[in-house]
Amino acid sequence: MNKEETFKKLSDAIVSCKKDAVVAAVQSARNEGIEPAEIIEKGLAAGMNEVGVMFERGKLFLPHVMMAAGAMEAGVSLLEADMPKDAAKKKLGVIVNGTVEGDVHDIGKSIVSTMLQSAGFEVHDLGRDVPLQDFIDKIKETDAGMVGMSALMTTTLPGQREVIEMLKEQGLRDKVKVMVGGAPATQNWADKIGADCYAENASEAVARAKELLL
């Protein structure tokens, strides 16, 4: 089997959301002598991306996303033995995520957290209606490389700008990437307030986070 076919098999196994299928696909990829990092990135993670897109399109549901993430974890742990110590366990990066103060809409934000976590990031979800200072405190506490902020109302959107100002005041702005989202947010808005990125949905959020943190 050529490498591309193997990657496709790995990715399909993830999309099937079945742990056994993933473990078997990882085993055979290993036997073919493919590097663990490649198995993860071009096979398993590519499958996870596809799962994300299918979720956005209503073709797969949240429990499937979680099953796929669980299967991916099982696949990765199988590869740990072949990898430098801790390399497999190493998280992609630390992200603090929450819905800004005054806003209780958290369904979309939680989906974003779940997808980021499934993709291998360490996510600290602060919940909803989060006092703005809590974002700053958590960033300091966890040494986060990125903060995600959700706002679903035009009236709470300005909270995202305030956190950016607070980061500047506290000399943290250069250390953390800022990602904004929620239905009323746009790329325009992100540019206007000086955020590093905007994402329209959870799978895009994962792609943006990878671009900025890896």
């Binding site: 209503g58 549901f61 949240l62 369904i107 779940t114 009236t155």
Partner: protein
């Protein structure tokens, strides 16, 4: 230079596009709906008509004579005395005044009495007051007055309710527990809606409005369909309006079904027959506005989805038109240029029975 027409982005920003650009956006938006819903495209004539509506020179447009449709309003006086965050205009007024103003000054054809918290669960402790308000409104009004609120199943999860938050459980990979939590919440939600409506019906309500069904995913729809079914059995003449929260039923549970149909992942044209089957009289489909795309893109998409829903629906469809839905930009006070154009398009092209 080609003539440019003023329209808006989904976030309300003014933009200027040529006819060719508008048509291209209309087609792109339509294609997105066709792809997501596996539904038919609009015809060339319909696209031309959409283009004509968008480029009409007047700031505000209306339907052709004879094509007028009924309009239904939700949340009564909160539109008036709520603040901007509540989509209101901040004029102090009682609920009776709000309802009567809609009937006698604004031309509403049916109206809804709602509570400031606007979810069913918090109505329970104040149901006596709601019954009294309903009775007083009914004594003063002629148009059908429904009682309405949001099913809002999220209120049954921690920290607001008794059941463990499925979002937290999912993140901890406790998938079965998360699903069980949703099933428990759905049972309580159905029970509460029915209990509240039994009381409101005894106070003279003409019916019930389910506003933003599915806001908490497939479980929310499941609970609402069962409440509709139960109310229809108990009150054969009750008027039931079922409006959705969004275009897609989010699959948070993933396996809940009604009448053999899995609820997760349903689009408006698939939701309509189920809502009718449960016993509703009126379906309120929703299409979400994408704030990063133009009004033309959003309207092309929304009309394509709604046309398919109207076709599939055995009961009348009153499309949700307002801030951030139905192709209308997401602004606290949606602009009249966009609202009137989108409404005209929904009536004349999608064929909706009301708004």
């Amino acid at each position: 230079m080609a003539t440019e027409h003023m329209l808006r982005m989904g976030d309300g920003k003014r933009i200027f596009l040529t006819k060719e650009q508008i048509l291209a956006d209309l087609k792109e938006g339509m294609a997105d709906a066709v792809d997501l819903g596996s539904i038919p495209e609009l015809s060339g004539d319909e696209l031309d008509k959409l283009l004509e509506i968008i480029t009409m020179p007047a700031r505000m447009v209306g339907v052709e004579p004879g094509k007028e449709v009924p309009v239904t309003h939700d949340i009564s006086t909160i539109r008036l005395d709520g603040d901007q965050g509540n989509s209101g205009v901040g004029i102090p007024s009682s609920r009776l005044v709000g309802c009567m103003m809609h009937e006698r000054a604004f031309g509403a054809d049916s109206m809804e009495l709602g509570h400031i918290d606007y979810s069913y669960k918090p109505v329970k402790p104040v149901v006596a007051q709601e019954m009294q308000a309903m009775e007083v409104c009914q004594q003063n009004m002629i148009i059908p007055l429904l009682y309405g609120a949001m099913p809002n199943m999220g209120l049954y999860y921690t920290p607001d309710g008794p059941f463990e938050n499925p979002g937290d459980l999912m993140k901890a990979f406790k998938i079965t527990e998360a699903q069980e939590s949703m099933e428990h919440a759905a049972k309580h939600l159905t029970r509460d809606i029915v209990w509240i409506m039994q009381r409101m019906m005894s106070a003279g309500a003409d019916g019930v409005n389910f506003d933003t069904i599915g806001a908490a995913g497939d479980g929310d729809l499941y609970a609402s369909l069962h409440a509709i079914e139960s109310l229809r059995k108990q009150y054969p003449d009750i008027y039931i309006e079922a409006g959705m929260a969004g275009e897609l039923v989010l699959g948070l549970h993933g396996e809940m079904a009604y009448d053999g149909v899995t609820l997760a992942g349903l689009w408006p044209h698939q939701q309509a027959p189920l809502v009718a089957k449960a016993g509703a009289n009126l379906f309120g489909p929703v299409v979400n506005t994408n704030t990063s795309k133009s009004f033309a893109w959003n309207l092309g998409r929304a009309v394509t989805f709604i046309k398919a829903a109207v076709k599939a629906s055995p009961i009348p469809c009153h499309v949700n038109m307002g801030m951030g839905v139905g192709g209308i930009p997401m602004l606290e006070t949606p602009t009249i240029d966009a609202v009137s154009r989108a409404s005209k398009a929904m009536v004349e092209i999608a064929g909706v029975d009301g708004i």
